[in-house]
Symmetry: C2
């Protein structure tokens, strides 16, 4: 069946919402206006909708769901509900019950309304046509008067149109018999279609003389709850979940187990000023900048091989695309027998397994991200490339880029080296090891043959660092010496220092930022896109 | 082969360590003494051990491992190492290489030494006897001079003694050919055998006229890195890891995914004074008391079914066996179609699956815990019992315990009700639902038929509450009304309140404390036993 929506999937919907915003201030105004209107509105639950015509003999087929229905209905089998994403040709002529959001609503005359219903990123077109025994004119009018993003329950029969439907993810329609509003949305400060639009689409339209709304990053974050509803964001956070899951499952299969170390600690974990301080029952406390100290202490407690996934806090004033004040750390620590390469032997296969699994199991999610933010799949080798820092410096030198052989690489030289490695080895994922000791934390084990270097490594994706790791100093005297050399006040971390006095196994480990992994795997340009509710020096809300 | 250790596994070892402590102050003194001695000691790695006789032609078979060996040795296959836990009869007459701690060291004359080597809770006896081509008298002496808890590498041949070995977990011995010390332990403030001893053993010995060392809770926590090495603690934290793992895997299989919500927030999440405050770049911030607000906001962002595992912070001055200032929250939030029983439909099967899996997959760990802290396995039903709060009050009443029908239960009445339920229904795990509204947080959905009750529940293990959950208010006007009624300053949580204005699906969820689950499943008497590095009003270290 051919319908207005399938013939003309988007044109008339693109600029219809007068609250759509192109700038931060416009968004704020819109948000205020929307909030105001929301307050004026009759509560969906407190009173019956004015739109239901009490004289209509078919009035029971539509209207607002009274709150009491959602508070007290006897428990029932929920299996007769169908997910929008499961609506396929196989269900043709069957009656279904779905719940989702009214993404777009269109009336065609006074006998027909169309509602695109969206549930978790999947969309289906629902057709409301006047029918003698089920659908009244009043019902069609009621549906046309629904607000976008309202939650609705729809009962109807699945039909398969003769032409392809272009504006929805599902290739069937629902011929509506009953439709109830569960939660009515106020006027939106940003429109989901606007927030879901790619820059490519905006540019294309511009060339055709049409101006489409572009929602900027700050406006998105100010209205994060709406922004999260876009298909790209639905994908990003499912991918994020999968990254954590593979990380854990891989490590568990390798004999690791999970710990939870304290975030409230007495001394700073990594030193430096970038630490949030607070009053802890009269004592000064810090928020852990990483689980470094306690994961090493757990190793001294004979935990053998451990990992942790948890928040880490950095009070840095970094206003970059890749820094946050709070992010999710993926941390690993393990005993080693002889050499820090044993740690790299875990890192490589772990991430290759992760990339393989994401490509295989998150194909739909990656596609949803790529539709809005186009990117090339990550190039990586089955066996992860390892280069020494010296080799990296040499490659840069040969390419005409001089860097301090005992200093750190900066963002620009890291990116350049990433390009060179890609050209020479065909991979965007590699390990750079034997870093200069001077640029590593105090707990890093020096190299024996040249104490200007250390038994440590960084790992890069698409020219950006995502992992730091290495062997730790397990000899208490050397640890004290290194801490003092770097100006650390060892008194503040005395319980950590003392942990190594009662027999300490040689060990190493690494730390990864979850948000960075997702950002770089998906080729995104800003870490705020992969943090659910990002925290940076200017943002503590929502 | 019969040996002194296997004939007489423990008697002479029980009180030999003069630094063993029975009280906090003694432990502190011992710790100071140990630290002092550790500082005086020659660093294991910086100089060769004085104990190695340079004139000994077999001197290369023992001694300290130079640090350089652990810094720079070329990467090698680590598969020729054997874990202590894998040493069985099947390896008889084979040469093995192990690393572990010297748990006990005993010399018998000057021709023989015994070392019990422990790795991750597993122990094996290693025999060092003078042999013409491998083991010198000097080596036997060197071994006898090792300090307890030092990390050692042992190369030797597996033998099967003709009589049962009683003091170790493994039923074989290792006839030592080479033995090197990797990390030498200073004098210990607490002895691992003392820390691993059960009260039952201490009482038994006392009846036989012998006084054994009892290490109290605070001494343990002050020396947590040593305390963690006991078999019970090795078990507890592996069980804890498994609880988190089953929680995740079960929920993922039910269509949930994992989120990471911010811990730094502008307003308090649960209200009340029990919140840690800090300065966030000039703004006042709180540490989240739970992920409540943001997990609900994620639901408003169409995330459908989500969970989170992460730290939660409570600044309460609670000095009980079951409260911590920082613990690990297991949180769930989900859309519901009609009724809060849909949430209970997840809780019951989730925990039954968890208990089943723990009993099946953590048998060794549970055994290790029970050896030190004897407990009866948890009694639970395949289908979780549900009682209404009213029914619970009635059961208490019939047992002669009068409680306020619209107040909360206290620890004592909860425990009493647990007993009654166990007697009547044969389960120590059950759900109590339809709680009085007055004792629940502002976001709890009232019951429609009696607004003195709410669509909420608690879950109990062994008479103690471990889970709180219920349906949330998704109607913005009602939410504001409820917040104001409970004296919440809605301005501080405005971004949360606003999330419900743009269409909010009916939803519910629950929160669990990870440490409480492990504590109560194992019948432990203090939550500090199941927190890796516990934080309470008096403890911010180690």
């Amino acid at each position: 069946m051919s319908t207005p929506e399938s013939q003309n999937p988007s044109a008339s919907d693109l600029t219809t919402d007068d609250a759509s915003s192109v700038s931060k201030s416009a968004a704020k105004k819109a948000a205020k206006k929307a909030a105001k209107e929301a307050k004026k509105e009759t509560p969906a639950a407190a009173a019956p909708s004015l739109a239901v015509d009490e004289q209509d003999p078919l009035a029971s087929n539509y209207g607002e769901v009274p709150l009491v229905e959602l508070q007290s209905k006897t428990a029932e089998d929920v299996s007769h509900w169908t997910e929008v994403g499961h609506l396929t040709n196989a269900l043709e002529n069957q009656s279904v019950l779905i719940r989702g959001r009214a993404q777009t609503i269109r009336a065609v005359g006074n006998k027909m309304s169309f509602v695109v219903v969206r549930e978790r990123g999947f969309t289906v077109q629902c057709v409301v046509t006047v029918q003698p025994d089920t659908v009244s004119r009043q019902m069609v009018k009621y549906v046309a008067g629904l607000s976008r993003e309202s939650i609705i329950d729809v009962e109807g029969v699945v039909s398969v149109p003769s032409v392809e439907i272009k504006g929805t993810t599902q290739q069937v329609e629902v011929q509506v018999r009953k439709l109830y509003c569960v939660s009515r949305a106020a006027v939106l400060p940003i429109n989901i279609e606007d927030a879901a639009r790619s820059d490519v689409e905006i540019e294309k339209a511009l060339q055709a003389g049409e101006t489409l709304v572009r929602v900027n990053q700050d406006t998105r974050l100010n209205n994060r709850v709406l922004d999260l509803r876009t298909p790209a964001n639905q994908g990003i956070f499912r991918i994020q979940s999968q990254v954590g899951n593979i990380f854990r499952q891989f490590l568990i299969s390798e004999g690791f187990f999970e710990i939870h170390s304290p975030k409230l600690i007495a001394g700073s974990s990594e030193g430096g000023a970038a630490v949030f301080k607070l009053n802890y029952k009269g004592q000064e406390a810090c928020l852990a900048q990483s689980p470094q100290l306690h994961k090493q202490m757990a190793i001294c407690g004979d935990f053998g091989r451990i990992f942790e996934i948890g928040p880490v806090f950095r009070a840095e004033d970094s206003f970059t695309h890749r820094h946050l004040c709070e992010f999710t750390g993926l941390d690993v620590e393990m005993e080693i027998k002889r050499h820090y390469s044993e740690v790299m032997d875990v890192v490589g296969p772990l991430f290759v397994a992760m990339f393989d699994s994401l490509n295989k199991n998150c194909a739909k999610e990656l596609e949803a991200v790529a539709r809005q933010y186009p990117f090339q799949p990550l190039k990586y080798l089955p066996e992860t490339l390892r280069l020494t820092f010296e080799e990296g410096v040499q490659m840069l030198k040969e390419a005409g880029v001089e860097v301090d052989p005992f200093g750190d690489l900066n963002t620009e030289t890291e990116r350049k080296l990433g390009q060179l490695v890609l050209e020479k080895y065909g991979t965007e994922f590699y390990i750079l090891h034997r870093y200069p000791l001077a640029v590593r934390p105090f707990y890093t084990m020096p190299c024996h043959d040249n104490p200007a270097y250390s038994n440590s490594f960084d790992v890069f994706i698409r020219g950006e660092e995502i992992i730091s790791g290495g062997q730790r100093v397990h000899v208490p005297e050397l640890l004290t010496e290194r801490a003092q050399a770097l100006g650390i006040d060892v008194k503040t971390i005395s319980t950590y220092m003392d942990s190594f006095r009662y027999g300490a196994p040689p060990h190493g480990g690494f730390g990864v930022g979850l948000e960075r992994v997702v950002m770089l795997f998906c080729g995104l340009n800003n870490i705020r896109k992969t943090s659910l509710f990002p925290r940076d020096p200017l943002r503590l809300a929502p």
